[in-house]
């Protein structure tokens, strides 16, 4: 399915699948039971997230900062496997037919599962697309063929350091949307949106009509409003993963819902903003 952002700016929410936060009682959770992530994802969609990126936890998340590293470690300790994430995608698809669902992973778990088998399973689950953090366009021959065969949207990352020739190739091979990285660096919250981001989005637009989502470091309503001035959607990752870390499984869906609703209220009065400020104090 094409990815749609009916509201402006659109919101893409990253969740590390299988992370139940710091305060979950391990004895209460069966390995592979992603109910907590499911409830959070449903709450996020109902609060206005257009796309959910389901992060497959990996032992060596070299592009991620400490927040998502910790979430990945917790998810793996809870026994999360790629198959469970695929099952979760299918549950979300059944429950919320209109939401965008992207499977977000490092390459090795996919390779080990089998690229072709993965593409079949991902398409069957009802996911709309795939983003592989450590897959660049030059190496993507097989991957792209599998995405085409199964009708999935391959989403590639574009970086502020990517020269125009690379942006052109990224634009040509992407479908669904393009994920523009707001700054050089790993995932993680930051105070200010980098000036890099607007210039990057402008450069990507020359090569594509696809929607462009801006991510890395976006953590409050002001950031989202700024991104809305030049891009189609904002990606929120670490800020929400950190919120989940601090919540209990019972409170996380409500916390995430409130946070996401606040992201579309840039006046500074939204509950998301207050939460951010109190968190910083």
């Amino acid at each position: 399915m094409p990815i749609r952002f009916p509201q402006h700016p659109g919101l893409v929410v990253y969740l590390t699948a299988g992370d139940n936060g710091l305060y979950a009682d391990a004895a209460q959770i069966r390995p592979g039971d992603l109910a907590v992530t499911r409830e959070i994802a449903l709450a996020a969609i109902d609060a206005g997230a257009d796309v959910i990126e389901l992060g497959v936890p990996f032992s060596d998340p070299m592009a991620d900062g400490p927040v998502i590293q910790r979430a990945s470690e917790r998810a793996l300790r809870a026994g999360t496997r790629l198959q469970h994430v695929l099952n979760l995608a299918a549950e979300l698809r059944a429950a919320r037919p209109a939401a965008g669902i992207i499977l977000f992973s490092y390459l090795n778990p996919i390779l080990r599962y089998g690229m072709s088998r993965f593409a079949d399973a991902a398409a069957e689950s009802g996911a709309d697309g795939v983003l592989l953090t450590d897959m660049i366009v030059e190496e993507a021959g097989d991957y792209l063929a599998e995405m085409r065969r199964t009708g999935l949207n391959p989403v590639f990352l574009a970086a502020p350091t990517s020269p125009d020739a690379r942006l052109q190739a990224i634009a040509e091979h992407s479908a669904g949307f393009i994920y523009a990285i707001s700054r050089t660096g790993i995932t993680g919250k930051q105070q200010q949106l980098a000036a890099d981001a607007a210039a990057l989005v402008e450069r990507i637009r020359r090569w594509t009509q696809l929607p462009i989502a801006v991510g890395f470091g976006i953590s409050n309503a002001d950031h989202v409003a700024q991104v809305g001035q030049f891009a189609d959607a904002a990606v929120i990752g670490s800020a929400i993963v950190e919120l989940i870390e601090r919540s209990t499984p019972a409170t996380a869906p409500g916390e995430v819902s409130r946070f996401i609703k606040g992201l579309r209220q840039p006046s500074g009065a939204g509950p998301g903003m207050q939460r951010e400020q109190s968190a910083r104090r």
Partner: protein
């Protein structure tokens, strides 16, 4: 994460048709966050230009000779040969290099390249600390800032090298994620590089990672095999029958092997860390327990579980305690040009004592893996055969571990084995 039995795969995991750049057979390539691609392309071009520049080459050769101490001797180990009663054993003495290991060959090469590229902030990862010490040394020599990432476990077991790095002016940053060893130090160095890519040069310490590193690091170590070949022809009038080298990421081994790839009569044998057992998590023998996969930017053999999660590793030597291996070794393994075996911790410790007491040479725990395999195969070879061990480093750094493992205390003499 460390499940024990991994069922055999029906099909080898493959990322796809190889992009031409930086492939060894089907292995290698570039699997990195997009942010690094411009830097890798810049590095590739700068390295190509430097390699073609006689001025660069001359400066590197001068430093290798006058600063690092090349050429290193090829030493005939007559007492060990006599004791084992088989092949003639030669040692290629990389342990005699400045800073104590082969790592300085690469650190000098990349340090000069970084200076040529105008980068003044240097980062590196280290396991045993030898690459960290070599990089800190080169940064002192060239007046550059140096940050070394090192796993917390390795900081503890290679404390002497940590102190050396700090004395040399480097900042050592402990890495507390994952297994707190070499793999995690590489992750952290990559995270730093992604963040500071515009002004930072990453001196990767082994023949691994994304292209162009495996090729470039190998080229800087090729001098080992080139010297060895010439020295052997001068001494014996012929090439050796076999060359042994330990394999962590694979830099000293590929450096020793490369000049002999077209001489099929010379057996090339890499020795991995057998650790304390055969189960996943107890060793770092990638060619025994690993499956092809992608880790830290390259496609090669990776110790991993059924879900593609990277396994923990164990070795008495920090420098071999690593879940993947340089891609050129993966290709040499598959095409049969080199063979790979492992030596376990107990045999390695025995080899340290044996070489120390037979020849007065204390090898690094890493290098002692190659010595252990030498002790095993030399007696089975005829007396006219010639066996070379690439002695990649010296063991001073390991005295803490050795004292503990061998129970050396006070002034009690250690009985020979």
């Amino acid at each position: 994460m460390a499940s024990t039995a991994v069922p055999p795969l029906k099909e080898k995991p493959k990322p796809g048709p190889p992009h031409a750049a930086g492939r060894f057979g089907e292995y290698g390539g570039r699997y990195v966050p997009e942010t690094l691609m411009a830097a890798l392309n810049e590095l590739e071009q700068a390295y190509a230009a430097a390699s073609a520049d006689p001025v660069f080459r001359a400066e590197l050769d001068d430093l290798l000779h006058n600063f690092a101490g090349r050429p290193t001797p090829l030493y005939f180990a007559s007492r060990l040969t006599e004791q084992l009663g088989g092949a003639k054993i030669y040692l290629k003495r990389e342990d005699l290099l400045h800073t104590g290991a082969h790592k300085i060959n690469n650190a000098l090469g990349q340090g000069l390249l970084a200076r040529r590229m105008g980068k003044r902030r240097i980062i590196a990862e280290t396991g045993a600390g030898q690459h960290g010490v070599a990089t800190a040394t080169v940064c002192a020599l060239l007046g550059m800032d140096c940050i070394v990432y090192m796993g917390e476990d390795d900081i503890r077991r290679q404390e002497l090298n940590v102190l050396r790095m700090r004395l040399l002016g480097a900042e050592v940053r402990p890495v507390t994620s994952g297994s707190r060893t070499l793999k995690d130090a590489v992750n952290e160095a990559l995270r730093d590089w992604v963040t500071n890519v515009r002004d930072t040069y990453y001196i990767l310490g082994s023949a691994l990672g994304p292209h162009p590193y495996p090729t470039m690091v190998r080229d800087f170590h090729r001098v080992i095999g080139i010297e060895l070949r010439q020295q052997m022809l001068e001494r014996e009038g012929r090439l050796p029958d076999a060359i042994l080298a330990c394999v962590g990421g694979g830099s000293n081994a590929i450096g020793a092997f490369h000049a002999f790839l077209d001489d099929p009569a010379v057996r090339l044998i890499g020795v991995e860390a057998g650790g304390r057992g055969k189960s996943l998590g107890d060793h770092a023998a990638r060619f025994e327990g690993g499956v092809p996969g992608v880790l830290q930017g390259t496609y090669s053999y990776v110790l991993q579980d059924e879900d593609g999660q990277v396994a923990l590793t164990h070795s008495v030597s920090a420098g071999l305690d690593y879940a993947t291996v340089g891609p050129e070794h993966a290709a040499l393994h598959d095409n049969g040009r080199a063979s790979y075996v492992s030596a376990d911790d107990a045999h390695v410790l025995e080899a340290v004592v044996r070489l120390s007491q037979a020849e007065g040479i204390l090898p690094a725990l890493e290098s002692a893996h190659a010595v252990a395999e030498c002790l095993r195969i030399a007696p089975q070879m005829p007396r006219h055969a010639i066996l070379v061990v690439n002695l990649s480093g010296r063991g001073d750094k390991d005295m803490g571990i050795l004292a503990r493992e061998l129970k050396i205390a006070g002034a009690e003499p250690l009985s020979g084995r």
